[in-house]
């Protein structure tokens, strides 16, 4: 399988404008093709959703094509209700009918999906309104450490303080060998990125999405990613050069009719330990104690008089090129 090249990215002065150009606009353009390649739920996420009690209502912050909205599939439709939030209107149009094909084949009527057009750093819901929240492959699209932290704070605020459950996935610097992407390692070290950006560890990169004309013109989508993007590189602005200059990338207009279009999506690739540190920092800002659920049977001892909000890190790890963390809220 050909590897797509990832190039270093610099954030322009306005992170919102950076995300608008290098994330939101790109997803709106590649929505159909992107969706056709995103259909298989990841096992840890499917398992998390299958363990939620019937009647739970949750938020999927950055739902994309809504592939997690129909889950769990091993229980009756509507046993839980996941509401999808995304910044890309075109992806939401697809998410509205997520899982419809599966349901048409069965006798059970498809439950139309609930979706909201919004930003994951916005707060268009009541505090503590949700029983659970997931944010899968989304927070890595935010352009600064503060904005990524704000996104985690929004997740902590949107769930029940006494029992809310949260699952977060982000892209890792450490990519497995099955990954299609090759990541530049020479020009970046952790210290470099720390010193230059002041945004902590991790790497800011552009990841090309190759959209062949076949996928844009006749509407018939192939569930496959890309030919080698290097083949089209000579016809487009040199993306490496553009990135290091901090200028924008214009790739769409100078291609011939049969040339694939290349869209560069911005990612912040997380370093080892960075996601858990981000959660700790977000919780700290909200005055939430990090630690396991205290043993309620103990009535005395150090700290037993303390009352407040807590957060247990249930599990964290690396799976198939992503870091994940599962959280559970508690109050006493």
């Amino acid at each position: 399988m050909p590897k797509t090249s990832v190039t270093p990215a610099q954030i322009e002065n306005n992170p919102q404008a950076h995300e608008d150009q290098h994330v939101h606009a790109v997803y709106d353009k590649i929505a159909s093709h992107f969706s056709s390649t995103r259909y298989k739920p990841w096992p840890i996420i499917a398992h998390f959703l299958s363990t939620l009690s019937t009647g739970s209502v949750g938020l999927d912050a950055g739902t994309g094509n809504g592939k997690y909205l129909p889950l769990p599939l091993d229980r009756p439709p509507g046993s839980i209700c996941t509401i999808g939030l995304d910044r890309s209107r075109n992806l939401l149009e697809i998410a509205r009918t997520a899982g419809a094909d599966v349901d048409e084949a069965s006798t059970i009527k498809c439950m139309p999906r609930e979706v909201i057009w919004g930003d994951v750093i916005g707060k268009g819901w009541r505090d503590g309104a949700f029983d659970y929240a997931i944010s899968i492959a989304t927070i890595h699209h935010l352009a600064t450490h503060d904005r990524r932290k704000l996104a985690v704070k929004r997740l902590l605020q949107c769930v029940s303080p006494s029992r809310g459950r949260i699952l977060i996935y982000v892209w890792a610097i450490e990519q497995d060998e099955l990954s299609r992407r090759s990541v530049p390692t020479e020009s970046y070290t952790k210290n470099d990125s720390l010193a230059e950006s002041g945004m902590g560890p991790g790497r800011d990169v552009f990841v090309p999405w190759v959209l062949s004309r076949q996928n844009t013109n006749n509407g018939k989508l192939k569930g496959k990613l890309s030919k080698d993007p290097l083949a089209s590189r000579s016809n487009v602005t040199d993306s490496t050069q553009s990135c290091t200059n901090g200028t924008s990338i214009e790739v769409t207009l100078m291609l011939g009719p049969d040339e694939p279009q290349v869209f560069n999506r911005y990612y912040h690739m997380f370093a080892e330990g960075e996601l858990v540190e981000l959660v700790r920092s977000a919780a700290g800002d909200l005055g939430i104690h990090i630690g396991p659920i205290p043993d309620q049977t103990l009535s005395s001892g150090p700290g037993m008089e303390w009352k407040g909000r807590g957060l247990e890190i249930v599990q964290d790890g690396w799976e198939r090129s992503n870091y994940y963390v599962e959280l559970r809220c508690w109050e006493k």
Binding site: C81, L92, P112, R113, I116, K123, G124
Partner: protein, 90 residues
Amino acid sequence: MVRLITHNLLACHVKNCTSNNFPLAFKDLGDTSLPAEQPDMIDDEFLQKLHHVLLEIHVEEGSMVCPNCNHVYPISNGIPNMLLAEHEIG
């Protein structure tokens, strides 16, 4: 779809709009099957009405208005738009 179960979770998030900011008001929903106050006795008839209102009413086109600051959140093609302009973000 915007079902009312989803609408029931939403709140206005315009800068400094932090109290009396939900529920967002529909201009004209045309459904009066539920009483204004929670009844003393929750019976099957009430639960059926509640189920109907929460899960069977879909709003495809319309708008929701913040009771506090009057910000309008439009709904089109069944998708509510909760995005704010840059100057409205708190």
